[in-house]
C-alpha cells in the first residue's frame, strides 16, 4: 500500500484545502483540482575521472486548475499560504462564465493508492553522496579498462524524490510518493585522430541497490564503452527505402513516436491527429498488439496514480492491428465520452495536465529473432536509438539510430554510422511483417516532451521486421 501522504507536510489543513477548492469550483466549473508537490532533485557527475559536480534542488508549490467545457483556467504558486491558495483559485476560475456562486464541494474521501509499484523508503532514497561518488569512480575505471582507446568517461547519477497530493472537486484527496533515478554514462573513444561517442544508461522508480544488482552499473559502463569503440569502425549509413530490423527494448521509441502521441486523446478530440478518424480501423499488421501500461513495478514510466489521482492502468491501443483506444485524462475523457485511462500527467505543479504515455510497448510475437534477421537480404539492423520526434498532424515521425549494422545476405555485417529513419505513423506498422518472441523493455532512460513539458516514460519492443522505411544515410 502506498504511503498516506499528509497535508501537514505542506503546512496546510484539510479545511484550508477544501476552502480553496470550494472557491474555485463555482457553478460553471465542471471540475477543479489542487495539486501539491514537493520535489527534491540531486545530481552528482563525473568527467576526466573526477567527481567534481554535485547539485541539489528543492521546489514546492501548488497548481490550481478549473475546467469548464473545453476551457482550462490554471494558476500556480510557490507559496502555500491560505492567501496564495485563494489568489490562485480566483485566477483559475476566471475562465468560468459566472465567477460567483461558489459551490459546495463534497467532503473529500481520503485515499491512498491501492498499489505500491515503487516501495522505497525515504532513507533508501537518500543515499550518501560518498556512495554515489564511489559508484561513478567505479564506472570510470570499468569503461577505461574495457579498452584503452576510451579517452574520456562522463557519468551522472540523478535522483528525484517527489511527494504529491491531489485534492479534486469530485471528492478525492489522495497522495503518492514518487522516487525516480537514472544513471547515465557517455564514453569518448579516440583512434588515429578520429573520435566517437557511445552512451548507455538506465534507471526507474528504484532505490540505489538497483544499480548494484548483478553489477548493473558496471554493465552500463561497458555498454557505453562498447558503443563508442564500435562506432570507430562504423561505415557510412545507406540512404533510401529498405527493410529494417529493430532490436528489442529501446527501439520501442518507434511506437512512442509513430503511434503513441497520435493516440493521445487531446489531439483526437481536437481532430488535429493523423489518427483522428481511425478508431476501429486497421493501422498495423495483425501481428501487432500495442499497450500502454503504467502499472509495471519500478518502471520509469509507472505511477501508482496519475496526476489527477486516477489509478494508472493498462490500455490496449492496437489489438491485432486494429486501433482500439486512446489514452485519456479527465478533461478529454469527459469531453469525448470515452473511458478514463489514468494517463493525466504533468511535469510539475507549474504545468497543466495533459494525456501522456506511461510505458508503451508491443506484445511479443512468435518469430525467432535470428530468423527475422535471416529474412532480410539487404537492409539495416538497428539496436539503439537516440531521440525521436513526430508531427502529430501529418503523422510523419523520425527516430535516430545510434548503433546500427548492415544486413547483407541475411547476416549482420558492418556497423554503420547513425542515421535517421523517417516514416508515416498510420502506415508504418502495416509494414511490420514479423514480431519476435523476445519482448524487452528499455533500461529506463526515456523522457518525453510535449507542449514544453517533460515526463519520464518507458518503451518496449520485441525484435521486429519493417518491410520498408526510409533510412537517412549518406550512401546511395
Amino acid at each position: 500500500m502506498g504511503e498516506l501522504v499528509q497535508l501537514t507536510s505542506f503546512g496546510l489543513t484539510e479545511g484550508e484545502v477544501l476552502g480553496a477548492l470550494g472557491r474555485v469550483k463555482v457553478r460553471d466549473v465542471d471540475y477543479a483540482d489542487l495539486y501539491f508537490e514537493s520535489c527534491v532533485s540531486e545530481s552528482v557527475s563525473m568527467e576526466e575521472s573526477l567527481v567534481k559536480r554535485a547539485t541539489k534542488s528543492v521546489s514546492q508549490g501548488v497548481g490550481v486548475r478549473a475546467t469548464a467545457g473545453e476551457k482550462t483556467g490554471f494558476a500556480y504558486s510557490d507559496e502555500l499560504t491560505k492567501k496564495d491558495l485563494e489568489l490562485a483559485a480566483d485566477t483559475a476560475r476566471y475562465i468560468a462564465n459566472s465567477p460567483r456562486g461558489a459551490e459546495q464541494v463534497p467532503a473529500p474521501v481520503r485515499r491512498r493508492p491501492t498499489r505500491d509499484l515503487y516501495p522505497i523508503e525515504r532513507v533508501q532514497a537518500e543515499v550518501a553522496t560518498a556512495d554515489r561518488v564511489s559508484l561513478l569512480n567505479a564506472i570510470d575505471a570499468e569503461a577505461r579498462r574495457y579498452d584503452p582507446r576510451i579517452k574520456n568517461v562522463m557519468a551522472s547519477f540523478n535522483t528525484e524524490y517527489k511527494v504529491v497530493i491531489v485534492a479534486t472537486s469530485d471528492g478525492t484527496l489522495i497522495g503518492d510518493v514518487q522516487p525516480l533515478s537514472r544513471l547515465q554514462v557517455t564514453c569518448i573513444a579516440e583512434e588515429n585522430g578520429q573520435r566517437q561517442a557511445g552512451s548507455f544508461g538506465g534507471g526507474g522508480r528504484v532505490g540505489f541497490q538497483f544499480y548494484h544488482e548483478d553489477d548493473r552499473y558496471l554493465r552500463f559502463a561497458r555498454e557505453a564503452a562498447r558503443e563508442a569503440i564500435l562506432n570507430l569502425s562504423a561505415v557510412d549509413a545507406p540512404a533510401g527505402v529498405m527493410p529494417v530490423v529493430l532490436g528489442g527494448g529501446w527501439p520501442g521509441i518507434l511506437l512512442h513516436e509513430a503511434i503513441g502521441h497520435g493516440l493521445e486523446a487531446d489531439f483526437n478530440r481536437k481532430k488535429t491527429s493523423a489518427f483522428s478518424n481511425l478508431l476501429g480501423k486497421r493501422v498495423a499488421s495483425d501481428v501487432c498488439t500495442i499497450v500502454d501500461d503504467g502499472t509495471l513495478p519500478g518502471r520509469r514510466g509507472s505511477l501508482n496514480m496519475d496526476d489527477e489521482g486516477t489509478p494508472t492502468g493498462r490500455t490496449t491501443l492496437i489489438e491485432n492491428g486494429i486501433l482500439c483506444g486512446y489514452i485519456t485524462d479527465k478533461l478529454n475523457a469527459r469531453l469525448m465520452g470515452i473511458p478514463l485511462t489514468g494517463n493525466g500527467r504533468r511535469e510539475s505543479y507549474k504545468s497543466v495536465v495533459l494525456p501522456r504515455m506511461t510505458n508503451t510497448f508491443m506484445l511479443a510475437g512468435t518469430s525467432d529473432p535470428e530468423e527475422i534477421i535471416r529474412s532480410v537480404d539487404r537492409g539495416l539492423y538497428a539496436v539503439t536509438f537516440g531521440g525521436g520526434q513526430v508531427d502529430i498532424t501529418n503523422g510523419k515521425f523520425v527516430f535516430s539510430a545510434s548503433e546500427a549494422y548492415l544486413i547483407e545476405g541475411g547476416k549482420v555485417t558492418r556497423p554503420v554510422k547513425g542515421a535517421t529513419l523517417i516514416g508515416s505513423g498510420p502506415e508504418i506498422l502495416t509494414k511490420v511483417s514479423m514480431v519476435g518472441h523476445d519482448l524487452k523493455l528499455d533500461e529506463g532512460i526515456g523522457t518525453c516532451g510535449k507542449d514544453g513539458q517533460s515526463v519520464p516514460v518507458g518503451v518496449g519492443l520485441p525484435t521486429i521486421r519493417i518491410d520498408e522505411i526510409t533510412v537517412g544515410g549518406t550512401q546511395q
Binding site: V44, K52, S57, A419, T420
Partner: protein
C-alpha cells in the same frame, strides 16, 4: 512556516546575508542568483479561450567553493529556516566531491564594473482581456486567410517579466529586469481532395510590446506556411543542392553554437575541437555572438558569473576565431572567458549564446532559389540525428522541390544527411533576410550538396 523574506528590494540584502553565512559555513568563495517573475499565458482555440495560466514565481541558487571543491543548490522556499538549511547542505555537499584545480569564481578584477542598460524591460501591463483579445486576433487571422485552413491547434499570447539578482563573494552585485511578449498560432489545413492534414505555425517574440508584429501579420504568415504544405510528396533518393530557409538555417547556427561551446570542446565532444584559427567555411561567412544588442532577446548587461557581456566574432571571413567560454571551460582550455556563462538557477554555470547569428549577405531569397536547377528548399526539420562528436548529420525534413529556379511542389517524409563540417564548408550563398525571433538567428543559406533520402 517561519518568516518569509520576499520583498523585492530585499533581494540584494538577502544575497549578501547568504554569502556571509556561506563564508561562516566554511565556503572560501560563493555566488548566489535570485530570480523572480510573473508569467501570463493564454491559448485560444477556434475562437474560445482554451487555457489561461497565471503565476508568480521565485527561485534562488547558491554555489559555494570550499577550496577547490564546489557544489550548487537551489530552492523556491525563501523561508529563513529553509535558506539556513540550504547554506549548510551546500557546504556539506561541496566537501563530498573531489578537488578540481581550475574551479572557482572569475578573478575579482574581471567582474563587470558597469552595468549598461541594454533595454530589456518594458513596463507595459496588459490586462487579461487585452491578452485574450490578441490571442483571438492572431488565430482569427490565420483561420480566415484560406478556406483550406479548417482547424487550429490554437493561438497563443504570452507575457512575462522578471528580475535577476546576482552576487558573489568578491563583492559583485548586479541586477537587471527583463520582459518578454510573444504571440503564435498553429493552423491546420486540410487537402480538399485527399483529406490529408498539414500543420505549421508562425510567431513573434519581443522584449517590447510595441515592437511585436500585429496579430494579423503573424496569423496570415502562419496560414500561408500551412496551406503551401498541402499535397506534399516524397522525392527520389539523390544528392542535391539544399537551401535552408531562415528558420532552419537558424538551427544550423544552433548546431555551430553547441560545437563552439567550451564544455563540448574540453571534453573532446565537439567536431570543432582543435580547429581554432582554421578555415571552417568560405570567406563570406562571418558569425557573431553579441550580448549587447539593444533590446536583444539574448542580451544582458553581465553574464551568469557577473562578467561583462560583449560582442565576440566567432567566425571571421570563414575562419574559426573564437569559442564561447565561461570561466571554468576557459580555464580548462587555457583561455579567458568570453562572457558567455549561462546560469539557470540550481545549475552550475554552463556556456550559452547571447545573440548568436550569421552575418547577412546581399542576395534575396528569390535570387538564391533562382540559382538552383533542381534541389530542395527546406522549411522544417525534425528529430535529433546529429552527432556533435563527429558532426554527422541526418534529420527528417520537409519543404519544397526546386525545379529550374522555382518552388515546384511541397515535399515531405524525407531526410537530409551530411556532415556539419562539410555543410559549413559547402555554404554557397547567404541571404539578406536576417531577423531575430530568438537568441540564435540566421538568414537563408544555400549549401552546395547534401544526400536527400526519400523513395
Amino acid at each position: 512556516m517561519s518568516q518569509q523574506i520576499q520583498q523585492r528590494d530585499g533581494y540584494s540584502q538577502l544575497a549578501s546575508d547568504l554569502l556571509a553565512k556561506a563564508k561562516r559555513g566554511g565556503a572560501t568563495e560563493a555566488d548566489i542568483i535570485i530570480a523572480d517573475g510573473e508569467t501570463f499565458s493564454v491559448q485560444v482555440r477556434l475562437g474560445a479561450v482554451d487555457r489561461l495560466t497565471k503565476a508568480r514565481e521565485k527561485h534562488l541558487g547558491l554555489r559555494v567553493f570550499v577550496g577547490k571543491r564546489s557544489a550548487s543548490t537551489s530552492t523556491s522556499d525563501f523561508s529563513a529556516d529553509s535558506l539556513d538549511r540550504l547554506v549548510t547542505e551546500t557546504c556539506t555537499l561541496a566537501k563530498a566531491v573531489v578537488e578540481d584545480q581550475v574551479s572557482g569564481l572569475p578573478a575579482a578584477d574581471q567582474m563587470a564594473r558597469e552595468q549598461p542598460d541594454v533595454d530589456l524591460y518594458d513596463s507595459t501591463k496588459l490586462n487579461t482581456e487585452q491578452q485574450i483579445e490578441l490571442a483571438k486576433r492572431v488565430e482569427a487571422a490565420a483561420m480566415s486567410m484560406d478556406e483550406r485552413v479548417t482547424n487550429s491547434e490554437g493561438g497563443d499570447f504570452d507575457s512575462s517579466s522578471g528580475r535577476v539578482v546576482l552576487g558573489n563573494s568578491h563583492g559583485f552585485l548586479g541586477e537587471y529586469q527583463s520582459s518578454s511578449f510573444s504571440m503564435s498560432v498553429s493552423p491546420i489545413a486540410t487537402d480538399p481532395e485527399t483529406g490529408a492534414m498539414q500543420r505549421d505555425a508562425w510567431y513573434d517574440v519581443q522584449r517590447k510590446f510595441a515592437k511585436l508584429a500585429t496579430p494579423e501579420s503573424v496569423g496570415l504568415e502562419a496560414a500561408r506556411r500551412t496551406v503551401r504544405k498541402l499535397g506534399a510528396k516524397k522525392v527520389a533518393t539523390q544528392r542535391l543542392p539544399v537551401i535552408f530557409d531562415s528558420e532552419t538555417a537558424g538551427s544550423l547556427m544552433g548546431n555551430l553554437c553547441s560545437a563552439v561551446s567550451g564544455y563540448s570542446l574540453y571534453k573532446g565532444a565537439s567536431f570543432l575541437a582543435g580547429q581554432l584559427d582554421k578555415s571552417l567555411a568560405p570567406e563570406y561567412v562571418t558569425v557573431y555572438d553579441d550580448g549587447r544588442v539593444v533590446g536583444g532577446l539574448g542580451s544582458r548587461p553581465f553574464d551568469g558569473e557577473g562578467l561583462p557581456t560583449r560582442k565576440t566574432t566567432v567566425v571571421e571571413r570563414g575562419v574559426l576565431k573564437s569559442y564561447l567560454l565561461d570561466t571554468y571551460s576557459g580555464r580548462k582550455l587555457g583561455m579567458a572567458s568570453t562572457g558567455n556563462a549561462s546560469r539557470s538557477v540550481g545549475e552550475n554555470p554552463s556556456v550559452g549564446p547571447t545573440n548568436f547569428y550569421l552575418a547577412p549577405g546581399t542576395k534575396t531569397v528569390q535570387d538564391i532559389i533562382k540559382t538552383v536547377k533542381q534541389g530542395l528548399y527546406v522549411t522544417d526539420l525534425i528529430g535529433f540525428g546529429i552527432n556533435m562528436v563527429t558532426g554527422d548529420y541526418s534529420r527528417g525534413a520537409a519543404g519544397f522541390w526546386i525545379e529550374r529556379g522555382e518552388l515546384a511542389y511541397p515535399v515531405e517524409e524525407i531526410t537530409i544527411a551530411g556532415n556539419l563540417k562539410e555543410m559549413f564548408a559547402g555554404i554557397e550563398m547567404i541571404g539578406n533576410d536576417l531577423v531575430f525571433r530568438g537568441r540564435i538567428a540566421s538568414p537563408t543559406v544555400k549549401i552546395a550538396e547534401m544526400m536527400v533520402a526519400g523513395n
